[in-house]
C-alpha cells in the first residue's frame, strides 16, 4: 500500500478540502479553511465549548445554533479553543455577520443545508481517516475519467470539476495552453518557443521533489504539480499542469495522483486521433489546411476571446494530438509526381512512414507539408521516400522558417524546388540557381521543336561546328569570349557567324537570340 500512496495522504484533511472535495461539498465557507481537522465535536450548548480540543471541527446544533448571537458566540469560543472551524446549519440565519466575524477572528465558518448531525458523522470519518477520504476522491476521479469521451477538453473538464480549488491545464510541447484553465499556469514562466520550454517549466516549478510538486511559501502557499504526458511512441505529447493555493499538505499529492490517472486517457486520445488521420487523407489534409489558415490570422500570438476559444484552440489541439510540429524551426516539403498522380492515401502513408508525424496536404498536383527536421535531414528522408512511391516523383524542400505562421513561404519554395528537381531527386529551394532552372527544362519534349527551328542551320552544319559556335557566342555574350572558349581565332568565329546569318537568322533580334540559345541548350544537352 505504501508503494501506491504517498505519506502525505495521511496528513490531516483541511477544512477547505472538506468543503472543496469532501463531505461538505457544496457548503458555503467563509474564511480561508486552511486549518487541519483532527476531530469533530457536536456542540448543542455553549457550556460544551470548555472541552473542545484544538483542531476540532465544531458542529453546532440545538441552542448553540439557535440564532445569529449563538453562532457568533460559538465562533468566539471556537477561536479561544483553537478549533479548526465552525459548522452551522444554514436555516434562517443571516450569513453576513458570520462572514465578517470569520474574517476578523480567522475562524472558518461553514453553513450547511443538511442535518448537522449527519454532516458531523461524515466529517468525523474524513478526519479520522484522511487517506480514506482522499482515496475516495481519487476513485471518483478515476471513474469519471473512465466514463468520459476521449478528448483533451473532456478530460481537462473532469479534472477541473473534480479537483475544486485547483486549476488544471494541458500544455503543448512548446509550453502553450491547449485546454483547461489558463490560471493553472499563472505563476509559471511564460512559455518559450521550442520543445525545451517543457524542461524549463518543470525546472520553474521550483525545488521539485521527486513527487513532482512543490510548496512555495513565498506566494501565499501556492503550489503546482506538473505531469508529462507521452504520446504512444514515447515522445512528449504535452504537459499537465495543476496549481492551487490550498495549504493542505496532503492535497498536492492527491492532485498529482489524479493527474497521473489522466495521462492514459490523453495518450489514448492522441493515439486514436493519429490512427484515424492516418487512414483518412481528407481528414488530415483538412486539419493541415485549417492550421495554415488559422496561423495566418490568430494562431499563437492573439489570445482567443472566451467565446471563440472552442474553435480557435480546436485546431491546435487536433494538431498536437496528431503529433505535428507547430512551433520552432519548420521546413516545408513538396512531392511532385512526374507521371499522373496516384492515390493520395497511399502517398500519405508512405510520406508519414518516411518523415514521421507530419501534415500532408494536396497541393500543386502533388503532396506537401512541413516538418521540424533540419533541411538536410529532410532531404535525406525524402530521398529514401521517393523510391518507395509507386509513381515516379520529384521532391522539393523549402527554406527553414520560424513557426507555422511563416510556413506558407517555405511551402512556395518547396513547390518551386520540386518543380526543378528531376524525377527521383530532391531539390532544395535555398540551394536553387539559374542552372537548376535550365536543368528543369523538359529537354526531351523541346528537342523536336528545336530541331525544326534549327533545321536551316543543321542542313549546312555537317560536323556540328556551326551549332557549337552559335551556342558559344550566345552563352558567352560575344565573339571574343566564344573564341577563347572554343580555342580558335576570333576571325574564325566571325566567319562562322556569317554563315549562320546567311541561313536567315537575324542575330540582332533579341527574341531570335533567346529562341536560338534555348534550342542550342536543348540540342547540346
Amino acid at each position: 500500500m505504501s508503494g501506491v500512496r504517498s505519506p502525505a495522504w495521511e496528513a490531516p484533511v483541511t477544512v477547505a478540502e472538506l468543503v472543496n472535495a469532501g463531505p461538505l461539498a457544496g457548503a458555503r465557507m467563509y474564511g480561508t479553511g486552511e486549518n487541519p481537522v483532527r476531530g469533530v465535536r457536536i456542540v448543542d450548548e455553549p457550556a460544551v465549548f470548555g472541552t473542545v480540543a484544538p483542531h476540532t471541527a465544531v458542529v453546532l446544533t440545538g441552542t448553540a445554533a439557535g440564532g445569529g448571537w449563538a453562532v457568533e458566540m460559538a465562533m468566539r469560543r471556537a477561536w479561544e479553543q483553537a478549533a479548526a472551524c465552525v459548522i452551522a446549519p444554514s436555516g434562517g440565519l443571516s450569513e453576513g455577520s458570520g462572514e465578517v466575524l470569520a474574517e476578523r477572528l480567522g475562524v472558518t465558518l461553514i453553513f450547511v443545508d443538511e442535518d448537522p448531525l449527519i454532516v458531523a458523522v461524515r466529517v468525523a470519518s474524513a478526519a479520522s481517516r484522511p487517506d480514506a477520504a482522499r482515496t475516495q476522491l481519487v476513485a471518483r476521479c478515476a471513474t469519471r475519467l473512465a466514463e468520459t469521451d476521449l478528448s483533451a477538453r473532456r478530460v481537462l473538464g473532469v479534472l477541473n470539476t473534480e479537483l475544486p480549488g485547483t486549476s488544471v491545464a494541458f500544455l503543448d510541447p512548446y509550453g502553450r495552453h491547449l485546454a483547461g484553465r489558463r490560471d493553472a499556469t499563472g505563476d509559471r514562466p511564460s512559455a518559450v518557443d521550442g520543445p525545451s520550454a517543457v524542461d524549463g517549466a518543470s525546472a520553474g516549478a521550483g525545488s521539485s521533489t521527486d513527487e513532482g510538486w512543490s510548496l512555495s511559501s513565498g506566494k501565499g502557499g501556492r503550489w503546482s504539480a506538473v505531469v508529462e504526458v507521452p504520446d504512444q511512441e514515447g515522445g512528449v505529447l504535452g504537459t499537465l499542469v495543476a496549481a492551487g493555493s490550498s495549504r493542505s499538505p496532503g492535497w498536492p499529492s492527491v492532485v498529482r495522483t489524479v493527474l497521473g490517472l489522466a495521462v492514459a486517457p490523453l495518450t489514448a486520445w492522441a493515439a486514436r486521433e493519429r490512427l484515424r488521420a492516418c487512414l483518412d487523407f481528407a481528414l488530415r489534409s483538412s486539419v493541415a489546411e485549417r492550421v495554415l489558415a488559422e496561423a495566418s490570422t490568430s494562431f499563437s500570438d492573439v489570445e482567443p476571446a472566451p467565446g471563440e476559444e472552442e474553435t480557435a484552440g480546436g485546431v491546435r489541439v487536433a494538431a498536437v494530438a496528431l503529433g505535428w510540429p507547430v512551433d520552432g524551426p519548420l521546413t516545408a516539403y513538396q512531392i511532385r509526381p512526374v507521371t499522373d498522380p496516384g492515390d493520395a492515401s497511399t502517398a500519405q502513408a508512405l510520406i508519414i512512414a518516411a518523415l514521421g508525424h507530419v501534415p500532408v496536404l494536396a497541393r500543386a498536383g502533388g503532396w506537401a507539408g512541413w516538418s521540424s527536421l533540419e533541411p538536410a535531414e529532410l532531404v535525406e528522408r525524402l530521398e529514401r521516400c521517393l523510391p518507395t512511391m509507386p509513381w515516379r516523383c520529384a521532391a522539393g524542400v523549402g527554406a527553414p522558417v520560424e513557426g507555422v505562421r511563416a510556413v506558407g513561404e517555405s511551402l512556395l519554395g518547396a513547390e518551386a524546388a520540386a518543380y526543378v528537381a528531376g524525377a527521383g531527386t530532391v531539390a532544395r529551394a535555398d540551394r536553387m540557381g539559374p542552372a537548376e532552372l535550365l536543368g528543369a527544362l523538359p529537354t526531351g519534349v523541346l528537342r523536336a521543336p528545336a530541331a525544326v527551328v534549327l533545321r536551316p542551320l543543321l542542313a549546312i552544319d555537317r560536323d556540328g561546328t556551326l551549332l557549337e559556335t552559335l551556342a558559344a557566342v550566345l552563352d558567352e555574350g560575344g565573339s571574343l569570349k566564344a573564341a577563347e572558349r572554343l580555342g580558335v581565332h576570333r576571325n574564325t568565329i566571325t566567319t562562322r557567324l556569317d554563315r549562320v546569318k546567311a541561313t536567315g537568322f537575324d542575330l540582332d533580334d533579341a527574341a531570335t537570340r533567346l529562341a536560338l540559345q534555348l534550342a542550342c541548350h536543348v540540342m547540346l544537352r
Binding site: 440564532g67 448571537w69 468566539r76 477561536w79 476578523r104
Partner: protein, 344 residues
C-alpha cells in the same frame, strides 16, 4: 432624603427619568408630563421609606401596557386614584404612601400623579433601579413581597382586581390590559413601610432629580455606575431566534448588528427581547441583563428604542449597572440572561 417635589422639581425629575429609559415615545411622555404638571399643585412630599411609620401601607403604582396606546387613548385623569382606592377597599386599609415600580420615563411620573391625587407622600426609591418588562421582575419580589392583590384602572372607567399566585400575574394582567384599551394604571405590591424599606432600591427619585439638572452628567442617573461599551453604527436589524420562544414577553425578539466605526472595529450584536438582553462584541459577551444596556443616539443624545433602531444610525452603547440585589443568585434568576431564555 425627604423634601417635596414642586413644579420646578418635577421638571428635573422628569428630565432625569428619561436619561436611560427605553420605550419612551415622545408623545406619550409629553402627555404624561402634562398630566403630572396639571396635578402638581402644592407639590408632593418625598419621604424615605425608613422615615414612615413602620406599619404604614405603601402601594406601588405603575403604568401597565403600551405607551403608544397611552398617547392614543388619552387618560381620564382619575386612573391612579381609582386603582389605589380599589386596593384600599380590598384591603380595608388606607394607603399611607405611594412608591414607584420603576422610574423609567412615564413610570416615574404616574406614581407622582397618584401621590398628588391621593394626598400622600411619594417614597424616595423604586422597585428595580432600572426597568424590567414584567411586573414580577422587581426587588420587591426579591424581598419576598407579593404583587397581589393588584388593581388595574382603565381609561374608560374599568376597574379590575386581580388575585392569583404571584407567578401568574403577568399572564392574567396582559390580556386584561389589552381589553381595556392597551394601557392602564396598576396599583400593586401592597406592603408595610418596614418591608418596603427593606426591599426597595432607595434614593432613586432624588437621584433622578439631581441627574435632571441641566449640565449634570448622564452618569448621575446611574446609582451603581455606568460604562460606555463603545460606539457603533447599525448595520442591520434582524429578527432573532433561538431564545425566549417559550417566554411570554410583551414583544418579539430582535437582533441589532453594529460595527465599531473606528478603533478595534469590532462586530457588535445586541440581542433584544423587550429590552436589550445581551451584547456581544466579536462573539464575546460584553454585557447582559440584569445590567441595563442602552443605545444612546450620538446625534441627539436620546435613548434609541429597540424598535426604533435602523441601519445607518450611530449610537453609543452604554451599560447601566443594576442594583447589587440583581446580581445575587435570586436576582439573576429573576432578571438575568436565563430569565430571557439565554443559556448563559
Amino acid at each position: 432624603m425627604s423634601g417635596s417635589i414642586g413644579a420646578e422639581e418635577l421638571e428635573l425629575f422628569s428630565a432625569g427619568a428619561r436619561l436611560f429609559a427605553t420605550g419612551a415615545a415622545e408623545s406619550s411622555y409629553n402627555l404624561t408630563l402634562d398630566w403630572a404638571r396639571s396635578v402638581a399643585g402644592q407639590g408632593v412630599e418625598l419621604v424615605a421609606a425608613g422615615d414612615l411609620a413602620p406599619g404604614t401601607l405603601c402601594v406601588a403604582v405603575t403604568l401597565a401596557g403600551s405607551t403608544t396606546a397611552l398617547s392614543e387613548q388619552v387618560p381620564a385623569g382619575d386612573e391612579p386614584v381609582r386603582a389605589v382606592r380599589a386596593l384600599e377597599r380590598r384591603l380595608g386599609e388606607r394607603a399611607g404612601a405611594v412608591v414607584a415600580l420603576n422610574l423609567a420615563a412615564e413610570n416615574a411620573l404616574v406614581p407622582f400623579i397618584a401621590a398628588a391625587g391621593l394626598g400622600v407622600p411619594l417614597v424616595d426609591g423604586d422597585g428595580t433601579g432600572r426597568v424590567f418588562p414584567l411586573v414580577e421582575q422587581t426587588t420587591y419580589t426579591l424581598g419576598g413581597l407579593s404583587p397581589v392583590p393588584l388593581a388595574l384602572a382603565g381609561a374608560s372607567g374599568e376597574l379590575v382586581l386581580l388575585e392569583t399566585a404571584a407567578g401568574r400575574v403577568e399572564e392574567l394582567l396582559r390580556p386584561v390590559v389589552l381589553s381595556v384599551g392597551g394601557w392602564g394604571v396598576a396599583a400593586c405590591y401592597p406592603m408595610a413601610a418596614r418591608d418596603l424599606a427593606r426591599a426597595l432600591v432607595p434614593g432613586t427619585v432624588s437621584m433622578l432629580m439631581r441627574a435632571g439638572v441641566p449640565g449634570a452628567p448622564r452618569s448621575a442617573a446611574a446609582p451603581y455606575g455606568v460604562r460606555t461599551l463603545c460606539r457603533g453604527q447599525i448595520l442591520a436589524v434582524e429578527g432573532s431566534t433561538g431564545h425566549g420562544a417559550d417566554l411570554a414577553l410583551p414583544s418579539l425578539p430582535s437582533s441589532i448588528v453594529l460595527r465599531e466605526p473606528d478603533g478595534l472595529r469590532r462586530l457588535l450584536r445586541l440581542e433584544a427581547h423587550n429590552e436589550i438582553v445581551l451584547a456581544l462584541a466579536d462573539g464575546a459577551v460584553v454585557a447582559t441583563v440584569p445590567d441595563q444596556i442602552c443605545m444612546i443616539s450620538t446625534g441627539d443624545g436620546m435613548v434609541v428604542d429597540v424598535d426604533k433602531a435602523e441601519p445607518g444610525l450611530e449610537v453609543d452603547i452604554m451599560v447601566v449597572k443594576a442594583a447589587p440585589v440583581w446580581h445575587t443568585e435570586r436576582g439573576l434568576a429573576l432578571g438575568g440572561p436565563r430569565a430571557f431564555g439565554f443559556p448563559l
